[in-house]
Symmetry: C2
Subunit: 427 residues, 2 copies
């Protein structure tokens, strides 16, 4: 029996804007940041649960304040019973009738809940001495379904539907686990494609990506059409015909503009168009998708919750679902999104990059491969080679694949020295 005795938060910001790493059409100068939380217990195992919300600088303090507001739910609470029933843990936070008003289930408060739930998942996996993906992959379909909130989903996905999907994927779990440990999960890289990089750097990084074994790269677009044409031509020449090139507009366009702009670029053989417009616009994405068919539409890094995911799938408004580890209410809600995607037969290619997003989201895709979709066909986890050095068990890439983590936990733990060095003072 143990209790939570502290909820420690840190406002951690990396000055990435100085190098234009991460620059795109909507985010010209991000300072990759983490509103970081550590859950401390009185158990003598020395284990803490770590989670975070990723932000790009200003407002990270607001996100920290939102996490702080959840402290009262944890201090003094029994650790074992909370970790034993992660569905109840979700409801404890998400169903608080007063906090719910601040969303509901979206934005700052929802992401704060996600950080805390992810820290709980991290602690649960550490206590089980398993990497999170493997902890999930050893749970029964019934246990998984108990972690998922089906509220507002039952018109398209019931618990019974989810059980059917999970049971159908039971055969082969061991073989896929072994395969994952041997070869990893396919990755693509965004490293060459930031808008702030000059042509020479783009060309060099694109060639390096191919040399490193990546089979897909991504370019930021949407600021200037002539620039996009030139940069896509440079990238295509650098990587050859066999490598996939995705483009990402980061919400830059309105619906008609998205259609016109991408039609002008389609000669470059585009593997998907990412975030063409507002991430909230299901109907707009559906219209874009119809107009640009057969180019797949990808979105999800700003998809606020499972209710929006449901609608994007219902409307065939995306063909690539890009879940994010720190946008929704944690692993718990990402499980719902995996199940929704499986129900619709849509592939999941997570968003990553920033601070710690690669570390966190790899577990979700690996669980999906082992226990939900059962495939990595046409699926890739995004990879960006920023800031991994701050994590105790950093995401690792080998031959264009994420290496399956073997260390216990959710890979979300940052070095204390990094936290101390980059934490900003409270105002």
């Amino acid at each position: 029996m143990s209790q939570f005795i502290a909820v420690r938060t840190h406002d951690v910001r990396f000055p990435t804007s100085l190098l234009l790493d991460g620059s795109d059409a909507m985010n010209p100068d991000p300072d990759y940041s983490a509103a970081y939380v550590r859950l401390v217990t009185d158990a003598d195992d020395g284990l803490e649960g770590h989670g975070f919300v990723f932000t790009i600088g200003r407002g990270n303090d607001v996100q920290v304040a939102a996490i702080e507001s959840l402290r009262g739910y944890l201090i003094g609470r029994d650790v074992e019973s909370l970790l034993e029933d992660m569905g109840a843990a979700w409801r404890l936070f998400v169903y608080d009738s007063q906090l719910r008003w601040l969303g509901p289930e979206k934005g700052v408060m929802h992401m704060a809940i996600g950080a805390v739930l992810n820290a709980l998942w991290d602690l649960k996996a550490k206590r089980a001495s398993l990497p999170l993906w493997q902890l999930l992959a050893t749970m029964t379909p019934e246990q998984i379904v108990d972690c998922v909130d089906f509220r507002y989903l039952t018109d398209v996905l019931t618990p019974e539907d989810a059980l059917e999907i999970l049971h159908a994927a039971m055969p082969g779990r061991e073989e896929r686990t072994a395969h994952l440990l041997a070869t990893g999960y396919p990755a693509y890289t965004t490293t060459p494609g930031w808008l702030g990089y000059d042509d020479a750097k783009l060309e060099r990084l694109a060639k390096e990506a191919v040399a490193e074994g990546f089979t897909q790269i991504k370019l930021k677009v949407g600021s200037d059409l002539a620039d996009d044409q030139r940069r896509l031509a440079i990238a295509r020449a650098a990587v050859g015909e066999e490598i996939r090139i995705a483009i990402d507009a980061n919400q830059r366009w309105d619906v008609p503009e998205a259609i016109d702009w991408v039609k002008a670029l389609r000669k470059h053989d585009i593997t998907w168009v990412e975030e063409p417009t507002s991430p909230d616009d299901v109907i707009g994405h559906a219209a874009i998708s119809r107009a640009l068919h057969p180019i797949p539409i990808a979105t999800g890094e700003h998809m606020m919750n499972r209710v929006l995911a449901k609608q994007f799938l219902q409307a065939d408004a995306l063909q690539v679902l890009q879940i994010d580890a720190a946008r929704v209410a944690g692993v718990s809600e990402n499980l719902a999104m995996l199940l929704l995607a499986a129900k619709f037969g849509v592939r999941v290619c997570p968003h990553a990059g920033g601070v710690g997003l690669c570390e966190a989201v790899q577990h979700i895709s690996m669980f999906d491969y082992v226990a939900v979709s059962g495939t990595t066909q046409d699926r890739f986890i995004e990879y960006v080679d920023h800031l991994h050095e701050h994590f105790v068990t950093p995401a690792k890439i080998r031959d264009g694949h994420y290496v399956a983590p073997t260390a216990p936990g959710a890979s979300t733990e940052m070095y204390p020295a990094s936290i101390i060095k980059y934490e900003v003072p409270r105002s």
Copy 2:
């Protein structure tokens, strides 16, 4: 020439849960609260701009922290140039590339921006010595359009469309202004219908509502079907056949449940069904609307932004748009929502109640009547008789109508004594 010299915030909470005022199926014990902001200038006119985010208790401190994070945008900034270009004021906050990540354009950060923008609108109206509705109603169509952000709307509403709507409503502005000053704007009341009230209190308050001149009341439903049947029968008997009765489920149901539940209640002659399910679920509301036709579907108090409003209208997922003064980014975004509704010919019946929502939103509907839709046909502003005594120029009801405010400003200013009495200490 003057500058902003202070941004003062207050975490104001009223202990309404003690009386079960405001209780509904999702919000059993709200403590109506305001994350309140005062913008102070160095002008010698003594005028301050006041705005707030309405919350229902816990998390009000997070909302205050979000408002505080905007202070740096205002201190030292020239007041006149900011108030002169409210479109630029919107972009100053909403287009901040780093803060944007926290939504984008939804939840805690977006509502904080709304409070500040509303405080600016309040100050602008006070400086013009006009109530806000009248300030807006004296602006030209071009000036109004300059205040509105059309990003993500142009597939259905362009600035040219908006100009056309506003120019078409130019004839008759004076007559409608005079009519409004003489008779006010129709109201309906939710006062009888809270779930926490017993049958006798429901019956008594329903009769009082009719005696006071209201022609529509609203009942909270969705916790227990037998209770809903009984309470609707009591209310119908109390008010007679001529009075409209709306029902409000406060997001309690999934899509199939909403359809079944309301079909069981339709014999009570329901004037609209409010918030049947997740406020984010456009496609779900459209399905409910088709299944329950011709009962109108109403939603909007949790509608996070204009992009969601656009989709609800495109999908015919609502027939009553219930804009809220403190959910989106202020008057500026509500103008966009009025124009969208006008484009689709959908009526706007604002959500109000809570703390100060009646005071704030009445200005939007009155402006709509004078200068956008030109009608009050089948339109009502919600009214709840809570907590008006804390406002310097409280909303006033006469014969079932909101009395048109004549005091300068947006009616958002709370008495200092009320702020002092109900402010909670900072943690």
